[in-house]
Amino acid sequence: MESNHLQRQIAYTRKSLFDQGFLDEQFIQLEDLEDDANPNFVEEVVTLFYRDSTRLILNIEQALEKSPLDFTKLDNYMHQFKGSSSSIGARKVKIECTQFREYCKAGNAEGCTRTFQQVKKEHAALRKKLEAYFQLVRQAGPAETASHSK
């Protein structure tokens, strides 16, 4: 019962992540990579992502404080950020990254700053959700993780 309930909760949480547009198809690709050798692969990747991306966000923030803005540098940072976000399937984050890069290309400082706030927001929101999700998954135990619906 307990495990059933948990499983259902996991499934529900996962589904809502997709339905609400936080995650996209790439996340499923990651899930497919999980196997016995790496049963927590997705969580590991996501953890790695957040470690690196946090640092990147700091860099961008610093760059945004300079004046005038170095759009090339900002674009480079964001390029990287977008790459890793898309690799884990962070859909909303990716969308904001794209928007940011548009503003960079246009040289729109105000747009950049504004969008960057969005980036951070989405980045943090997804993090919370994923953390909650992985907590459930861990609770369910290794035997259960393999059984989540794909």
Binding site: L33, N38, F41, N76, G83, S84, S86, I88, G89
Partner: protein, 727 residues
């Protein structure tokens, strides 16, 4: 028998495909050898299969299991992003590759240098701090010559990657399907290397009739991978190759910086054009270096320096297909004019090399290569050979993607609609013509069935990239990854038809047949009796087509209906259409290249001034479905055209557009071109629909065939004139 057909076709295709592959390092892997069918499969059936099934079938044919084949390929992955690196690493491991990760390009290079022969392929991100992917690619190409796959979040880097020598390009996020197929690059490269070594001695490559031997693959996949065991073997070739490759794996010569410098010195001393491997070898005087090594290095070097960013004589304007079309045209014309005249009249012979030699790199050039005023048949031959290679490889992968056609077809069509009265446009039109050629070279039937692209994901990604960056305006819904002659599809997003060349006496030759269906009422639209839909990505053509006389007779026939004025001019022509539409059951012949010739003709009678006679010679790609129903289809179309013509003495654009829309049925038709030469002296006027070009529409006010007889005489000369002019 389909099998027999294909065998012969395959041979030709293979030859050219490898030639192409080698010269241009296309991202399309044309691994013909791998995918020779072991048993018959009706082409039509195959074409109807979706991509997955096709893959499966092919891999089954090649003796591979349905699952991903096991190979011991060692991959070096370079990416500064740890997340991506981790994901890629996992994907590669799952695909049974041996993976080494690396975060910096310099580290990767030193790994490669230290461990020569330790890696089979490199996958690298483009945007990295310090050394970026392109630089890494360059070093690897010069020093170790491994296949390199570049990747990026950006979608637009595909062309650049390939012209710099990458063998493939992936867009992030990377899918595992793409990863599964990277082994093809390794194998292809090995195979080509072996072939290169065969063709030594001369600057130009010699004999192309090599098949990869079993040996090469044994070295690659020793773990009992039976994939290659079923490859078709040519004993003679095998024997030869065994003699040459006595060791399983050729020891790689590492071209260190010094060695390369000696090489470059030698080449410069000899002169790039005169630099033959033998002389270079003598000059370098390096013990242990063989002529083969030099030959293959020379080839890479030549490719390298011919890159857009490198030295390029007349291609400065051709680095991308997106550039100003006029420049491109001009450059193309200038460079091709010389070539074309030699190359064109060789029917039945594909001379891809001669065409391609001055132009290395990207698709844009490849297509423009064939674009200039050549006789249509020859054009077709040439185009088909080149484009065939490009296309056939893609066909299967790109079948249903509307992006596919765009890549090749869109390339030359970036032109602005309003460029008229300019010979350059004629070049453009011929370029687009080239793209429209259905691959029916008489000696190169486009049996693309067994041509595969390297990876559908790759190709898709590339093509998607391309299409996003190119201004694709092809009508697409029906396009199925083949070059279709003439009008493509029924969407309003067609390309402006290419601008006619105004001859002195007002003859216009318009090569473009991208006919969009625009609703512009000013257009004079001619219903085009060639619906270009390939219900299957069929092999439109095969065998020998004798579209020989299209150029002078069929194509430039302005018709003999001297009473035609305005649209009335069409009326008499319908009987022609009817005749050939209905009478010819034979199919599958290559139709002439989709060249629309518009006769800009002087109407002697009522108008008395130069009017444009848009007589379109409808060799536009009629491609019939295999052998059935073509007549029906054709006659349907013809009837539609006929009724259109008949019913409208003074058609205006809207009418025609509407009629035209009706014409676009799902089937493609193939009209035997033999029909056309028969009509010597008669105009086959199939309506052409011009889209998006106000100026042009203004030009095509009248249709008049009153002076047809003289035109018939005149046109070939005009054509020649244009070619010469273009040259």
């Amino acid at each position: 028998m389909l099998v027999i057909d294909m065998a012969a076709e395959l041979e030709n295709v293979k030859i050219l495909s490898t030639e192409l592959a080698r010269k241009f390092r296309p991202w399309i892997v044309i691994s013909v050898d791998f995918f020779e069918p072991q048993y018959e499969l009706k082409r039509s059936v195959f074409q109807d299969m979706n991509l997955d099934n096709q893959e499966r079938w092919i891999s089954q044919q090649s003796g591979v299991s349905d699952q991903f084949p096991v190979v011991s390929i060692r991959v070096l992955v370079v990416d500064d992003d740890r997340t991506c690196l981790m994901i890629l690493d996992k994907m590669l491991r799952i695909c049974h590759y041996k993976v080494t990760k690396c975060q910096q390009a310099e580290v990767a290079l030193s790994m490669l240098r230290e461990n020569k022969g330790g890696f089979d392929i490199v996958i690298s991100d483009i945007h990295m701090p310090n050394m970026d992917g392109f630089e890494l690619l360059k070093h690897i190409g010069l020093e170790m010559d491994l296949p390199v796959i570049l990747m990026s979040v950006d979608e637009g880097q595909a062309l650049k990657s390939v012209t710099h020598g990458a063998c493939d390009y992936l867009t992030k996020p990377i899918r595992i399907e793409s990863i599964k197929k990277i082994w093809q690059h390794v194998v292809r490269k090995r195979r080509n290397e072996l072939k290169d070594l065969k063709k030594l001695g001369s600057v130009e490559d010699g004999d192309l009739h090599r098949k990869p031997s079993e040996v090469e693959y044994a070295s690659l996949a020793n773990e009992g991978n039976s994939r290659h065991s079923k490859k078709r073997k040519d004993e003679e070739d095998e024997g030869e190759e065994r003699n040459d490759t006595s060791t399983l794996k050729k020891p790689r010569v590492v071209w260190s910086a010094e060695l390369h410098q000696q090489f470059v010195t030698a080449v410069n001393r000899l002169g790039l054009d005169k630099a033959v491997p033998k002389k270079i070898l003598e000059f370098m005087n390096v013990p242990g270096l063989t002529r083969e090594n030099v030959a293959s290095h020379l080839q890479k070097y030549r490719l390298y320096i011919r890159r857009p960013s490198g030295v390029s004589q007349n291609q400065s304007g051709l680095s991308t297909p997106f550039m100003d079309p006029q420049e491109a045209n001009y450059g193309v014309m200038a460079s091709l004019g010389r070539l074309d005249l030699q190359a064109t009249y060789v029917q039945g012979q594909v001379l891809p090399r001669s065409l391609m030699t001055p132009q290395a790199g990207g698709f844009g050039r490849l297509t423009t290569n064939s674009g200039i005023g050549m006789p249509f048949t020859d054009q077709r031959n040439l185009f088909s050979s080149q484009i065939l290679k490009l296309r056939s490889g893609e066909e299967q992968q790109l079948r249903n993607s509307s992006n596919q056609m765009n890549l090749l077809q869109g390339l030359p069509t970036n032109m602005e609609p309003k460029q008229l009265s300019h010979l350059h446009q004629s070049v453009q039109s011929f370029r687009s013509l080239g793209l429209q050629v259905s691959h029916g070279a008489s000696d190169l039937p486009s049996s693309s069935m067994s041509l595969r692209t390297s990876s559908s994901a790759h190709v898709d990604s590339i093509y998607e990239n391309q299409s996003s960056s190119l201004r694709m305006q092809m009508a697409q819904s029906r396009l199925k990854g083949q070059i279709l002659n003439g009008i493509t599809g029924d969407h309003a997003s067609g390309l402006p038809s290419v601008n006619p060349v105004l001859g002195k006496n007002g003859t216009i030759i318009n090569g473009a047949t991208y006919i969009p269906i625009s609703q512009d009422s000013e257009m004079i639209n001619f219903p085009m009796a060639h619906v270009l839909e390939f219900p299957r990505n069929g092999f439109p053509l095969e065998g020998t087509q004798e579209v020989s006389t299209l150029t002078s007779t069929g194509v430039f026939q302005a018709g003999e209906n001297s009473e035609m004025k305005g649209w009335r001019g069409f009326a008499p022509n319908y009987d022609i259409l009817n005749e050939f539409c209905q009478g010819k059951p034979q199919e599958l012949e290559l139709q002439n290249v989709g060249l629309t010739v518009e006769m800009f003709q002087n109407s002697n009678s009522e108008q008395g001034n130069l009017d444009f006679l848009p007589s379109v010679l409808g060799h536009q790609g009629f491609t019939s479905s295999e052998k059935n129903g073509q007549n029906k289809n054709t006659s349907d179309v013809c009837k539609a055209v006929v009724s259109l013509m008949e019913g409208n003495e003074h058609m205006n654009a809207e009418n025609i557009t509407q009629c035209y829309n009706h014409l676009l049925v799902d089937n493609s038709f193939r009209v035997k071109d033999e029909c056309l030469p028969d009509r010597s002296g008669k105009t086959v006027i199939l309506a052409e629909h011009f889209g998006g070009d106000d100026l042009m529409s203004a030009l095509f006010k009248q249709v008049s065939f009153s002076s047809l007889p003289w035109l018939q005489f005149f046109l070939p000369k005009l054509y020649l004139w244009i070619m010469i002019f273009g040259g």
